[in-house]
Subunit: 350 residues, 2 copies
């Protein structure tokens, strides 16, 4: 009868696809080393298909921040197919959530067909934790390389639970990088300005995470970039987000800046003073290395006083001139500690 | 002829002894664990013998400070013998020299016979280094238990040579002991007043020197005594000898006392402030533990501001009333840091 025929006709004109893999499993993923896998979406129906990965209820995006889907939307003619490239990549923004257990390498993607059904695709893999993405507080309590520490123990340390051992002055990883620069790069020009090499950063990461009995690999520029990256990968910056605005407000007044530093969480304070002490040492060799205080203060201002993530406080999004003003204040804040005698504040890292 | 007969007679009347062992070899010696060996001196001559161990040229004493000879002098009739007891014992005074390589378990004794010849006896053995007797500076750079570190490396660390690794805030051994007391003894009465047990001190020493995967042994009183002993065994006290008199002079003035503390060697400063912080914590439980600030200040005053060895400055030997005055000043010095808010000075050990 007519109704049945209509139903059948309608079904035939529904979009239909085949996905070659709905459980995408990645190999062990490491910090700063991307991996890709391909998905094939084949149009097996009789009508063109408009597809799109859509976000699940309550999720801010159609995939986790460490995943990239290319293309995430498209149009496929009947009998044709589309290759989708899935890239997973844990960088300085996502590493801390992996370390703390707040996130893991697991996502469910919703492939939506316009006018048709939804197909669910899982993405999984295991992430190998690194010192990059660890908090300062957790790192100072790790007296063996991070890869020798069970994941559960790292999560405990990141969440300030369980028994922590005796703390280092500053994370040993910070110490190793600074010590290397201190011994090999005091007279190097364009330190922190010249970029490092990606493969050397990977080697340095492996060295820090396993501490083999050999010297730190890579050029001093790669070591310098690794140091910046380590500081940028923590969940909270050296100046915690809750002191961000106080810091900018105090930036013209050294006394107030000192008071803020003395209020910092213990180990953040040590790292701050230790690095300022090292930067002072670099500046004392400026006739060789051509570095100047303003440049270093601007660079480290942005790192010590990291901008809060947009999502935290959308109303604080700055105009360009506001941002320039904030950057100038951050630089001023740090500059005090590069030109004044901070030995009254500094504790033993020498 | 007569001359020959006289010579012979004279020889016969010379004192003559047999010593059963002129190379005394001890087993491996450990901190705070004495060992003894016996020597037998037999009078094999025809006249009584007066013997005495005498000091070698330039030596202040007839044996090293870690050796005790009992009796060191005596009288033996012909055909008789005398048992001599040699005791070796490395304590808080001698341990630091063993650790630094300034001394070793080796001595040459000169057994002098009155009117006769000298007999040389060597005393040897190997000493197993411990954290007791290590300097604060060396300990903070040891990230494995001391027994896992080769002797040569320890000597390097004690003499500030060679590559030192990233430093702990305070020696991990200090941290372990304080952490244990913090968790188990805040409400214990007579802490630091009740003595520990010798066998438990040995167990605690072994635990600190090997860090096995079990909890610290011994009662809290033994742990407390171990902490005091560790601080007393360093070559330099927390307040270095060169600041000793400055310290006493400043003791009535908190501001000056603070300035002295801020001048301390980095890690000594950390240990000082860390322990004062812990003592404040103890005092905040005084309704349970019955401790009072004056008592703790007096006890720790004597430990932080240790009396310089007499030999260093004989003219400074004090009368009893002078000593009481000095002890009172030491207590005053420490007392400031038990009753004032020192958080402005304290760095992260929490």
């Amino acid at each position: 009868d007519v109704m049945k025929k209509l139903d059948k006709l309608e079904n035939e004109f529904l979009p239909q696809v085949m996905v070659d893999n709905t459980e995408v499993i990645f190999d062990t993923l490491r910090f700063l080393e991307p991996q890709t896998k391909e998905l094939i979406i084949a149009n097996t129906g009789q009508v063109p298909v408009q597809f799109e990965f859509i976000k699940k209820l309550d999720d801010p995006n159609y995939c986790k921040e460490w995943l990239n889907i290319e293309p995430y939307t498209g149009f496929i003619m009947p009998g044709e197919k589309c290759d989708i490239r899935l890239e997973v990549y844990v960088d300085k923004k996502s590493a801390c959530k992996m370390n703390s257990g707040q996130d893991k390498l697991y996502d469910i993607l919703v492939l939506h067909l316009d006018g048709g059904k939804d197909i669910f695709i899982t993405v999984t893999g295991s992430y190998e934790r690194s010192c990059f993405g660890s908090s300062i507080e957790a790192l100072v309590h790790m007296n063996v390389p991070v890869r020798e520490i069970p994941a559960g123990k790292i999560i405990e340390l990141e969440n300030c639970k369980g028994d922590a051992g005796p703390p280092y002055m500053v994370p040993k990883e910070v110490w190793y990088l600074v010590d290397h620069l201190y011994r090999h790069a005091l007279k190097t020009q364009h330190l922190f300005e010249n970029p490092g090499l990606h493969n050397e950063l990977i080697q340095i990461r492996n060295w820090l995470d396993t501490s083999p009995n050999e010297s730190l690999p890579g050029s001093v520029h790669s070591v310098a970039e690794a140091l910046l990256l380590l500081l940028e990968s923590t969940a909270e910056p050296i100046i915690p987000y809750n002191l961000h605005n106080v810091c900018l407000g105090a930036s013209s007044n050294y006394l107030q800046c000192k008071q803020i530093v003395m209020q910092l969480p213990d180990h953040s304070k040590n790292v701050f003073l230790y690095l300022c002490f090292f930067l002072q040492e670099l500046l004392s060799h400026s006739s060789d290395n051509q570095l100047d205080g303003k440049t270093l203060a601007t660079l480290f201002g942005g790192i010590f006083i990291r901008e809060p993530p947009r999502s935290r406080n959308p109303s604080s999004a700055r105009t360009k001139s506001n941002q320039q003003e904030a950057d100038r204040k951050k630089a001023n804040f740090v500059y005090h500690f590069l030109v004044n005698d901070t030995s009254e504040l500094v504790m033993g890292c020498s």
